[in-house]
C-alpha cells in the first residue's frame, strides 16, 4: 500500500506504524460522568468495519507525523490522508 502523505507525497506503508481506529485521538475526560465506562470503551472497543475506516498511521521511519488515513478495509484502497492535527475535533 502507498500512503499519500500530505507533506511528503506517496510513501510505502511499511514506513508507518499502524495504531488503528482514529477515535483514539479523543481521550475521555477523567472528570466526566461515567468516565470509567468511557475509558473501558476508549481502551478496548474499536470500530472494526468491513468497508471505509478512519485510522491512525504514525510515520515512524519518516517525519514522525501522525496521519488519519481513510481506507477501505475490504479493498485496501486509500481514500483520504490527513495530518491528525488538522482533523482536530472533526472526527467525533
Amino acid at each position: 500500500m502507498l500512503i499519500d502523505h500530505p507533506l511528503l507525497g506517496l510513501r510505502d506503508s511499511s514506513e508507518f506504524i499502524y495504531r488503528g481506529d482514529a477515535k483514539l485521538l479523543y481521550r475521555p475526560n477523567w472528570k466526566s460522568k461515567n468516565s470509567k465506562t468511557k475509558f473501558i470503551d476508549y481502551g478496548y472497543l474499536r470500530k472494526n468495519p468491513a468497508g471505509v475506516h478512519k485510522e491512525l498511521w504514525y510515520h515512524e521511519q519518516g517525519d514522525r507525523s501522525w496521519l488519519v488515513v481513510t481506507r477501505n478495509t475490504v479493498t485496501h484502497e486509500i481514500l483520504k490522508v490527513e495530518l491528525a492535527r488538522d482533523t482536530k475535533g472533526k472526527l467525533k
Partner: protein
C-alpha cells in the same frame, strides 16, 4: 459412513464406487434447540460435542459459504500447548489431549502427526523465559524439555547455529506438538455431527438476529427465518460484522494473516520449528511443501489477501534461521482474517442478550484450539456455565483489568 482398513480394501476392489458424501445437505427446519452461526472448525466441533457429550442433537450449523471455507482451511495446521499463563495453558493442554484421540473418536483420518514443536532461543534472557514457560507447561500436565545446542545439532543440523547476529543457544521442545490435516478436521467433525442428527446448512448467511425483550430466539437467514432456544455465534474474522448487526461492539479488530507454501521438497524438516529472533515458523507437509508463516500484516483488513512487505519479512526470517531454504521457490501465498482481540486471548461467553452466546477473538491461534473451543463452547451452550478450563475467557475481563496478555503487549491487537 464407517471407515476402516477393510473398507478401503473392499472399495479398492469395487472401483471405489461405494463412497458416500460425509454429510447430508438438508433444508433448514423451522425450529431448533440450538443454532450455531459459522460452519468452521470451532462451530462444527461445538455441534459435535453438543451432540456427543451433552446429548443435544436438534442443532443447526449455519454457514455463509461452503463448509470449511474460512480459517479452518487457511491456517498452517500446527497444534501445541506451549503457553505460559495459567488462564491459557490448561485450556490448550486440554485441546492437545483431545487432538491425540481425535481420529479414533471421529473415525476419520485427520493425519494428527505429533512430530514435535521446537521453539529456538538465541540469548540467555530468552532461555530464562523459555525455562519459565517450560515449567508452566509441565505444571499443567503438558510435556516440555529444554534442548541444548548439541541436542539441536542432532535433531535439526541444518539451522544456522553460528549466525553472527542471532546465534542459536538452544530450544524449548514439546514432543507432543505437531501438525494436523486441517480440512480433515472440519470434515471429520461435520461427518460425526451429521450422523448424530445435526443439520449442516451451507450457503446460508445469517442476515439478522431475532430479538424480543432482550432475548434471542432465532436468526434471519438468506434461506428464511430459523427459530431456536439458543444461538451460538462462532464466526472468527467476521465476529464484528455479525455481532454488529445487533449493535454489539467487540474488543476485536480483524486483521489479515498470510501463510505460505513452497514447492514440494524431500523430507527435511522434522516437526515444527520457530525462529526466536523474528517471526517465522515452519513445518513440512506430507506432500513435501514447506508450510510457513509469520506476522500478521498489521492493519485492519477483510481482504483475505496480504501485501508484499510481510512476505519479505517472513522469508528473511526463514533464511536467517535455515539458509538452506534460500533456493526453495514459493508456490502459493494466501490470507485469512483473524479476529485479533485486545489482549491476544479468546472469548467464550454469554452476551448481554439472553440466549445469545459468543465464541471468538482467537487471534491467529484458533486452529490448535479447535477441539477444546468446541468442547468448552458446547459446555457453555448446554449448561449456561463456562467450562472450567475456559472460565477466564469472558467479556468482563477487560473492564475488570483481568487481561490474559500472553505477550504483555497491552491493548494493541496488531502486536499480539
Amino acid at each position: 459412513m464407517k471407515y476402516s482398513g477393510f473398507k478401503v480394501l473392499w472399495e479398492g476392489l469395487k472401483g471405489n464406487t461405494g463412497w458416500k458424501p460425509l454429510w447430508r445437505n438438508p433444508d433448514p427446519k423451522k425450529n431448533y434447540e440450538i443454532i450455531i452461526v459459522g460452519g468452521g472448525g470451532h462451530g462444527l466441533a461445538t455441534a459435535y460435542y453438543l451432540a456427543e457429550k451433552f446429548k443435544i442433537t436438534n442443532i443447526a450449523v449455519v454457514e455463509k459459504g461452503w463448509l470449511g471455507s474460512g480459517n479452518i482451511g487457511r491456517n498452517t495446521t500446527i497444534i501445541r500447548s506451549n503457553y505460559l499463563l495459567p488462564q491459557n495453558q490448561p485450556f490448550y493442554e486440554f485441546s492437545l489431549k483431545l487432538w491425540e484421540n481425535l481420529e479414533q473418536e471421529l473415525n476419520y483420518n485427520s493425519m494428527v502427526s505429533q512430530r514435535g514443536v521446537l521453539n529456538i532461543f538465541h540469548s540467555d534472557s530468552q532461555r530464562d523465559a523459555f525455562v519459565r514457560r517450560g515449567n508452566a507447561m509441565l505444571m499443567s500436565g503438558a510435556d516440555a524439555s529444554l534442548l541444548g545446542v548439541d541436542a539441536l545439532k542432532k535433531l535439526v543440523p541444518f539451522l544456522d547455529f553460528q549466525n553472527s547476529r542471532f546465534p542459536i543457544k538452544g530450544g524449548l521442545w514439546q514432543p507432543r506438538g505437531g501438525t494436523v490435516r486441517h480440512d480433515a478436521v472440519a470434515w471429520g467433525y461435520a461427518k460425526e455431527a451429521d450422523s448424530r442428527g445435526v443439520d449442516i446448512i451451507e450457503n446460508c448467511e445469517v442476515t439478522n438476529f431475532l430479538i424480543k425483550n432482550g432475548r434471542c430466539y432465532g436468526v434471519e437467514t438468506t434461506k428464511g427465518v430459523i427459530k431456536s432456544k439458543k444461538v451460538g455465534v462462532c464466526v472468527a474474522g467476521s465476529s464484528s460484522q455479525v455481532m454488529g448487526k445487533i449493535g454489539i461492539n467487540l474488543p476485536v479488530e480483524s486483521h489479515v494473516l498470510q501463510a505460505f507454501v513452497s514447492e514440494g521438497l524431500k523430507p527435511v524438516i522434522p516437526g515444527v520449528i520457530t525462529f526466536g529472533a523474528g517471526h517465522f515458523y515452519v513445518s513440512q507437509s506430507n506432500k513435501g511443501g514447506l508450510v510457513f508463516g509469520g506476522d500478521i500484516d498489521g492493519y485492519n483488513s477483510y481482504a483475505q489477501r496480504g501485501n508484499l512487505p510481510v512476505i519479505e519479512d517472513v522469508c528473511e526470517g526463514g533464511v536467517a534461521l535455515m539458509p538452506m531454504i534460500g533456493r526453495a521457490r514459493l508456490l502459493r501465498t494466501w490470507g485469512g482474517i483473524m479476529d485479533m482481540s485486545m489482549d491476544g486471548s479468546p472469548i467464550i461467553d454469554r452476551t448481554k442478550i439472553r440466549n445469545l452466546y459468543f465464541n471468538g477473538g482467537w487471534c491467529y491461534g484458533g486452529f490448535k484450539a479447535t477441539p477444546a473451543s468446541g468442547f468448552c463452547y458446547a459446555h457453555l451452550l448446554a449448561t449456561d456455565k463456562p467450562h472450567n478450563d475456559a472460565k477466564d475467557f469472558l467479556f468482563n475481563r477487560f473492564e475488570r483489568g483481568g487481561l490474559i496478555d500472553e505477550k504483555g503487549q497491552g491493548n494493541q491487537p496488531n502486536l499480539h
